[in-house]
């Protein structure tokens, strides 16, 4: 679909629509600039006709150059394999925009973020509590992502207001931010009536480190290392998303061999995450032998990563323009040997879990996220696929995946079992993909090309283990980063978790949580 087609399809639903500017710098990105009055209506039309959740919504401080803030909403058109970026200006005096949150739920968290980071009011948003900058430690009126932010100025502190469920027999159970296990920090507040959970209130942001601000002023080459340290178990996916954006800006396409190598590493990352989650699900219902078995498989994959790239978490492998480490014939042998062993162990693990009736009883119909709720919340990635929504960037933006005949997997029920079985099938598919990619690894020796950066913006995206990792990058004339907006699939999916646990008992919360396996560090940035 090219620009006029998008405009005409918007016009079908919105007859008096007119865009201020339409452009297409890259084949997979359409940029539409509209007036502030038209922004909300156009967003709602795009949300409906594509259909797409608000994949990203973020502000950019351009007051130095043009005297305005800009607001960008990113939608995905899976069928046409395109991203649509809707843009509007916000004047710097009394900045505000009309909130989308009441009509499009997936916009809600982004609006809260824009409000706390830029001080731009989303007018009409019913929930403007701060998420990452906690009221107890960060005074009001400090907006760190504005360009003229110099440092925190002391001021009034306040307290976070939790939504409360009141009534006879309702108990509140607060958990976190320091949990019993070895996991990230987050605060959960359960309201229970008897055993079942009637409300789960999430408070995150404990792992907020100001990542987006740290990107600003760095060159893309320096920032690549930072991108690997945002979410440790998706280090490679983040670096690919970031590198893709930088490569689009510099107008280069990476060599075919590098694309295959990236495919291999992405699938290895997905495999160790999936098997770790499968073990976690078993452990959280007290089934410890398969959990230990899964951790041995995970360790095998991590050691394989180390043999291939000298890094267990695939750090320092990606470079802008390609991949730094090759998989030569000796390494291919190591890879195939390890995969054979991994597949054998994994089949045993699946059989162990499937043959235990008491285990199946715990996971079947537990933590159901129905398709309608998932769609309304704008849930993405593996969780969405387990609820019957066909969404996988590997299918719709295939790249090398089309040569390997990638098959997208989905499940219908949306319970813990669906998410577990989806991981089973995706793990097996990942093994197959790696083998296909490795066989095709030949020919060109070049694995990277040199890149020259210019002033531009671009969207990088990749399907990580949890779902789509998105990175919108804007550089200035010297190739220095002016703004980098990252969105982890977890940001979309945390709300899904709070719906999935409703009606379940608190002892089942860990297994529901593990089946979602959402990132704290990726969400909090």
């Amino acid at each position: 679909m090219d620009c006029p087609e998008v405009i005409s399809s918007i016009k079908k639903s919105l007859p008096d629509f007119s865009a201020l500017a339409v452009s297409q710098h890259y084949p997979d990105e359409i940029f539409i600039k509209v007036s502030p009055e038209a922004f909300k209506d156009t967003s709602m039309v795009l949300h409906k006709i594509l259909p797409s959740p608000v994949m990203m919504l973020f502000a950019v401080d351009e007051r130095k150059l043009t005297g305005v803030f800009t607001l960008n909403a990113v939608f995905v058109n899976l069928k046409q394999r395109q991203w649509i970026i809707l843009n509007m200006d916000i004047p710097q005096e009394n900045p505000y925009f009309d909130s989308l949150a009441k009509s499009i739920h997936s916009a809600a968290i982004f609006e809260r973020e824009i409000q706390e980071m830029f001080g731009i009011q989303p007018k009409g948003n019913p929930d403007l509590r701060r998420m990452n900058l906690h009221d107890e430690v960060w005074p009001q009126g400090n907006f760190p992502l504005r360009n003229d932010f110099k440092g925190m100025v002391n001021g009034n502190l306040s307290e976070y207001k939790f939504n409360r469920v009141e009534g006879g027999g309702i108990f509140e159970v607060p958990v976190g931010p320091v949990h019993a296990g070895i996991i990230g920090p987050g605060h959960f507040r359960f309201s229970v009536a008897g055993e079942p959970i009637v409300n789960l209130e999430l408070r995150l942001g404990f792992a907020h480190r100001g990542v987006e601000k740290l990107f600003e002023g760095k060159t893309c080459f320096d920032a690549l290392r930072l991108s690997e340290c945002i979410c440790g178990d998706s280090a490679f996916a983040y670096s690919v998303a970031f590198a893709t954006a930088a490569e689009k800006i510099s107008g280069i396409s990476i060599p075919q061999k590098a694309a295959y190598l990236r495919g291999i590493y992405l699938e290895l990352e997905r495999m160790y995450n999936h098997v770790s989650d499968i073990g976690g699900i078993a452990l959280d219902v007290g089934f410890s032998f398969p959990a230990a078995y899964a951790s041995v498989i995970k360790e095998t994959i991590l050691q394989l990563n180390e043999k291939l790239t000298a890094s267990r978490y695939l750090k320092n492998v990606n470079v802008i323009g390609g991949v730094s480490g090759d998989i030569d014939d000796a390494k291919k042998l190591i890879l195939f040997d390890a995969l054979k062993k991994i597949k054998k162990d994994f089949n045993a693990l699946v059989k162990m879990l499937n043959s235990s009736v008491s285990f199946m009883d715990r996971v079947d119909t537990t933590g159901v996220l129905i398709k309608k709720t998932a769609q309304d919340l704008g849930v993405v990635g593996l969780v969405a696929r387990a609820s019957g929504i066909p969404t996988d960037l590997r299918k719709y933006f295939p790249g090398v995946y089309s040569q390997a005949k990638f098959k997208m997997m989905t499940q219908e029920a949306g319970d813990v079992l669906s998410r577990l079985e989806l991981r089973f099938s995706e793990f097996v598919e990942s093994c197959r993909l790696i083998e296909e990619f490795t066989i095709k690894l030949s020919g060109s020796r070049d694995m990277q090309v040199n890149s020259v950066l210019k002033q531009e913006s671009a969207l990088g995206y990749v399907e990580g283990a949890r779902g789509p990792v998105l990175c919108w990058l804007k550089t200035d004339a010297h190739g220095v980063i002016a703004r980098c907006k990252l969105v982890d699939p977890s940001s979309h999916n945390w709300q899904g978790l709070s719906y999935a646990v409703l009606g379940n008992i608190i002892p089942d919360f860990p297994v529901c949580n593990k089946s979602f396996n959402l990132s704290y560090s990726g969400n909090d940035l």
Partner: protein
């Protein structure tokens, strides 16, 4: 059940033999503390882990150190659910502003004698996040740190060797 048993037997013992290499000296331990640790904790150490905003890779490696291959538990080192049960606090991450209070409270909740271990480059000085508006950086400016385990992330073997040497001194060989 039979399938489980069969697998258990066929899999055998996967645990790796680990020798604490005497080459690297751990300097951050004071002599007094060292003798205290050897006297009090040499046979068992209970650790509470706190994530103050790490990326999750350190956590993943700490969990890996407990898997059957590395099996940290055989050396008497256990990870516990509550700071009330802990002898040591293992801190990862660059101390986000939001986690400062939780970190201090966790430390306060631990019974004496107690000490703090930091894990990963972020916890040493903020690592890549040094200078951000929302991190405090070095844990040692907030709590007295007895041992630092370097790495981004440190491998399970690094973690185990550092802990063992810390507990038993250099003469220890398993």
């Amino acid at each position: 059940m039979i399938y489980l048993l069969k697998n258990r037997i066929l899999k055998g013992i996967v645990t790796k033999h680990i020798v604490a290499s005497p080459a690297k000296e751990i300097e951050s331990v004071g002599r007094e503390l060292k003798s205290l640790i050897q006297k009090r904790f040499s046979r068992s150490l209970h650790i509470r882990e706190v994530d103050t905003g790490s990326c999750g890779a350190c956590e993943s490696e700490i969990i890996s150190a407990n898997n059957p291959i590395y099996d940290l538990q055989r050396f008497g080192v256990n990870f516990v659910a509550s700071p009330r049960h802990a002898d040591a606090l293992l801190v990862t991450g660059p101390v986000s502003r939001n986690m400062l209070l939780a970190l201090k409270k966790t430390y306060q909740a631990m019974p004496e004698p107690k000490f703090v271990i930091t894990c990963g480059d972020c916890a040493l000085d903020g690592g890549l996040f040094k200078g951000s508006y929302y991190v405090h950086g070095a844990v040692k400016n907030i709590l007295p740190v007895a041992l630092h385990i370097p790495g981004c992330p440190p491998s399970p073997l690094d973690i185990i060797q550092a802990l063992l040497k810390f507990l038993h001194g250099n003469e220890f060989v398993c």
